[in-house]
Amino acid sequence: MAAAPKVQLDPSFSDIDRSVLGVMSTPGLAYWTWIAFCFTLVGIAGAMWARQIYSGLGVTGLRQPVMWAIYITNFVFWVGIAHSGTLISAILFLFRTKWRTAVYRAAETMTIFAVATAGLFPLIHLGRVWFFYWLLPYPNERYLQPDFRSPLVWDAFAVSTYLTTSALFWTMGLIPDIANAREAAVGWRKKIFTVLAMGWQGTDRQWRHYSMVYLLMAGLATPLVLSVHSVVSWDFAMAINPGWHSTIFAPYFVAGAIFSGVAMVMTLLIPMRKLLGIEDLLTPWHFDNLAKVVLLTSLVVSYAYITEAFMTWYAGDPIEQMTFHMRYFGPWGWMYWVMVLCNCVIPLLLFSPRIRVNMVMLWVITIFVNIGMWFERFVIIAGSLTANFEPSQWASYRPSITEIMITVGSFAWFIGLFSLFVKFLPIVSMTELKEGIVWLRKALKKGYSTAA
């Protein structure tokens, strides 16, 4: 027999505050062990990077012609993961989507940490990291300016704008909630929250300007979501390399980014709602809707894979056709088919309404999506480089332990930061949940049991 829902079906504003602020209770030993584990992996990755800086990029598996591989795969993967946050917080805000209220803070937080993780990879990939500022519009010591016709410069602008705008948007949303936490906190937490709340009291004057700026920021962030991954895709599409030189890359990458980002939100939130005891706030109704977004974007991504193959066949360019033949049936063909299985086949299970509210099944499916999307980036980036115009240049690529440990470290860094956030700041927006309380009540009464 299913366990009875542990919460009442008619939460009040105070119930919401209690549930959200209850998550921020003093963490125990298990929590700190987990944090220590994550940051130990980060430390190992940091040591590997230090070794790479000292010895040079020779310690990686990067060799001509495969000079972009796991590092750039990770960059594209993490920028993609970041997309769900702004999609949920900005685009769905403008559409007045009701189910976003409970999940948007977690998604937005994930965005910040994912972009911060992504931003490390172009730096890690630089042999001489101390010259990173050459991407900025600032002449270097030889008085050379960056070339604004280069997609890499566009990328520096797009990613840094995305990080800044997302951080401002996230900070604005946090202020009323931190003020709320300030009232309930004691001791050192109260002092910190008092500083962070900056004197917010929810006056009509404050809410009037807040609402206007929040709306405008959502309006600015909406085209930004679509632009950032388009710009990332142009890092490849602007090159003439076979496998990259494609006009569909921008929408294809944006759809993939939303697909992987929403899947990652679910991968994190499903265990979190259980561990933190917030099943009453993050209900299967929310996951049902997130799963529909995953299903839709999976279909778009599948369509893009088919279109890409069709265009290659129809254009009749033998080199492009050879690259795709290698992609499907070459030495790394298995990666392509893993990607198809994870991104196109397994998500079809989400057509079943029962699976969309089954938390275990959803968790497993979203993990497959994450794996599939990482492989997609690797297949496009490193796979396309192995077979160039000149067969004499063809070569394979094998990642070194440095690249593998830095990749593992990036996951640990992302999950570690997210775990820290969960315990020290409100992971669910109390303000927006209170605004959407009518909808939460309806969802709970509709038969979406919290114990699903």
Binding site: S12, F13, S14, D17, P137, P139, Y143, L144, Q145, P146, D147, F148, R149, V153, W154, F157, A158, S160, T161, T164, T165, L168, F169, T171, M172, I175, P176, A179, N180, E183, M198, G199, W200, Q201, G202, T203, D204, R205, Q206, W207, R208, H209, Y210, S211, M212, V213, L216, M217, L220, A221, P223, L224, S227, V231, M430, T431, K434, E435
Partner: protein, 172 residues
């Protein structure tokens, strides 16, 4: 005649907005509210003008586009790189930089305007603030002469105010 503040609490924004309408109909204008959520009902009842922050965002956005044009065209002339015989100022790719800077500066200007107009950071609590107003109650503060107090309290109670308290007014 001394000035006082009458602080009332409401369970929802509908009652609070109703009280504001009734007070404004009675020619009482010095009203302020506290709320746990943004409420359009209260905002409309108070009849405040639209937030001027939008003009800051617009200014930021326009500045971003102009900065983008200045940076891209300026550096192109500073470092004259002939790429494939294309015109020196090949503007289509510059749109990307202009767009990104428009969003960046539009966001930063709007964010800054929010702090400026909202009076943040604030070091002193506004008169009448109570922690319940961040949690689950809507607060309405009316500043008035003592002579009007009884009439105002009556209007508030008729609008379902849960608690009505008089306090000495403190300067804002």
């Amino acid at each position: 005649m001394s000035t006082i503040a009458i602080i009332s609490a409401f369970a929802d924004d509908t009652d609070c907005a109703h009280a504001i309408h009734a007070l404004r109909d009675a020619q009482i204008r010095d009203l302020n509210t506290f709320a746990p959520i943004p409420s359009h009902r209260i905002e409309h009842a108070l009849g405040r003008s639209r937030s001027p922050t939008r003009w800051f965002s617009l200014t930021g956005g326009i500045s971003g586009v102009l900065t983008g044009l200045a940076v891209t065209i300026g550096t192109t002339y500073e470092w004259r790189l002939n790429a494939g015989g294309k015109p020196l100022v090949s503007w289509p790719p510059f749109i990307i930089i202009c767009f990104e800077l428009m969003v960046l500066l539009g966001g930063i200007f709007g964010f800054t305007a929010f702090f400026l107009f909202s009076g943040l950071p604030a070091t002193v609590a506004a008169s009448g603030y109570d922690r319940r107003f961040g949690e689950d109650r809507f607060g309405l503060v009316v500043r008035c002469d003592e002579a009007d107090a009884a009439r105002i309290e009556s209007i508030l109670k008729e609008s379902n105010a849960e608690a009505v308290v008089r306090e000495e007014d403190t300067p804002r």
